[in-house]
């Protein structure tokens, strides 16, 4: 039986308590995946697909590596 085509999503601190790697099926939109993620409250993030910033309308392909990058507001002093 043929193994399903997959992509990899990586979540790390501080979005979650412990680093997490998830296999994703290809052929879904990132927006749908994001809704299922259990990210800590109060935190924002951007998605990198194969090293490039992407919006949620991206259609996941086989072999994609997707990173969730936390966004922390900047300060001066």
């Amino acid at each position: 039986m043929k193994e399903p085509e997959t992509a990899l999503l990586i979540l790390d601190k501080p979005l979650v308590d412990h680093k997490l790697e998830m296999r994703l099926p290809e052929g879904v939109y990132l927006n749908e995946i994001v809704k299922t993620l259990k990210i800590k409250p109060g935190l924002s993030f951007v998605l990198l697909v194969n090293g490039q910033v992407s919006d949620g309308n991206y259609y996941v392909k086989h072999g994609d590596i997707i990173n969730c990058i936390p966004q922390i507001v900047g300060g001066l002093y």
Binding site: P14, V34, I39, K40, P41, G42, L43, S44, F45, V46, L47, L48, G51, Q52, V53, S54, D55, G56, N57, N67, I69, P70, Q71, I72, V73, G74, G75, L76, Y77
Partner: protein, 638 residues
Amino acid sequence: MEKNNKQFQVLMEQDFLDGKTAFTGKILRVNLTTEEIWVDEQPESFYQKWIGGRGLILYYLMKETAPKIDPLGPENLLIFAPGLLTGTILPGTGRHAVGAKSPLTGALASSEAGGWWGAEVKKAGFDAVVIQGKASRPVYLWIKDGSVEIREAEHLWGKTTGDCQEALHTELGDSKVRIAQIGPAGENEVLYASIMHDINRAAGRSGLGAVMGSKNLKAVAVRGTMKVGLADQALVKMTAKWITSNYKDMMGWAISYGTSGSVKFNHDSGATGIRNYQDAVLDGIENIDAATIFPLLIKDRDTCNRCPVRCKLVVGHDGEITIEEKYGGPEYESIGGLGALCGITDPVIVAKANELCAAYGLDTISTGGTIAFTMNCVQEGLLDGFDFLPTFDDGDALLKSIQLIADRSGIGDWMAEGSYRMAERIGNAAVPFLAVSRKQEFPLHDPRLKNAMGMGYALSATGADHMHNLNDTFATFDGGDVCARLRELGFETPLELWGISDKKIDAFVYETAFKNFLDSAVICHFYPYEYHHMVDALNGAGGWNLDRDDINQIGDRIITLARLYLLREGFTLADDTLSARAYYRLSEGPIAGKSLTPPELADALQRYFKRMNWTETGVPSPEVLTELGLEDFIPSAS
């Protein structure tokens, strides 16, 4: 109100002394030319309308300064403005604003600082301090529990902020005195000199330190022992209880590393300009992220009045390069500006550069931005004839540049004017390397990634500013406080990342109104407060019955008055721009091929003006001014 020379004593109202109000109604006034001191009595309605902070600053600038004054002339006002909530029990209120006409931009300077100074001045009995004129020799102000005195400061002039603070603590016999002051950069009127508070908290942006220096005012020392009251303690306590119960979960990022823990994240997502925005990746970026700095440099944590989070890192280092802990530690913007923007990844160099900026009193963002621009011009062969010129990746050159800027020596005298004026001197060949709006250097939030933020840079009355702005990447997926606030307003889904849609403009209008309210209240932006929290806090402080729409209207009022200030000072639609670096597209990395185009920005501005009911040239309509209670500021037909 009676005016007094050099010394003044005011009696507080009994309600304030009894802890029943968060404001005294007393605005301290000082004319340094005549040495007169007096108090403006303001009614409750003044605070309902302007709140404090930026609102109060704009009110006084519009009411009491003539158009197109010299920012470094005696007629400019220097305004220290805590907010209605500053000094109260609510966490996140350990902040105050400082304002003036900016010598860097020619527009509004309105910058906020954390720490204790703002709470101290409220506890001394004053809702704000408005300073005008110019002293004939260096002086400082000494404010203690309703008493005010102008004192000689010849012996303090020329001192670094650390040495000045030590001298004043000794002179006043009290190490608890809180001090706002300038360093040598402010004395030398560097156009982006900051005003330092407790030597490690800056009202950093737009050259407020130069304004203070131009008045021969070295410091404002404050000691207050009274209590800032609340009209309805239970209402404020409710919000305070909510945040103290939730901050560990919602602000874990701040508790663990502070903003300096975001350096690698921001680099990886393309938010940090590298080598003046020409590169996509900086090898070794992890070296200047808090995760690396922690074991090497972090000695302690610091905080602001009434803040349990303690997000301020304190760094120290012994060795060939020493770093003094008393100057605190670098935040994200400082690490990005003095590090990544200049190609520097040595954490000791970056921390030392931050210390020098605090000691000399320099804005770390514009310092880093101007040095990076200079390095770019050197790379392109556009500068010669100087004994010393800085180059990318050279840490020693970074440190030397900061010293030269503060001293206005050699190339430092050019750099002290900021990158825009440097480009004017160098010529058109330098223009492609500028990263400014309204002559102020970009913060470390790249508008090629954050398009609405870029529009905010172009529109802001303070020049490029990331604080009273919409941060695109915080509103793209549910989770953060921006999305929570937008949900509360009826937005059903988060915003799209790229571009500036009508929906994004709608969110921008709400979010900038909220942030301008925060900067008037004056509240830390890191706290994940939503509208209902602020409604309760505001009503609890003032004893009022305001609602969410009132908060938005207060924000809109301040934004609109700031626009009137810009127009009055001669700015036009042609000045609502981003400089060339915002449009320079990278060929690789996280934001490869991405940026707005000038026509896209122009189109977005028109849709914003329409949403605000402003004209096509960005002039607020008389109907809007009336609706916002700004009738007094409607420009005359003549």
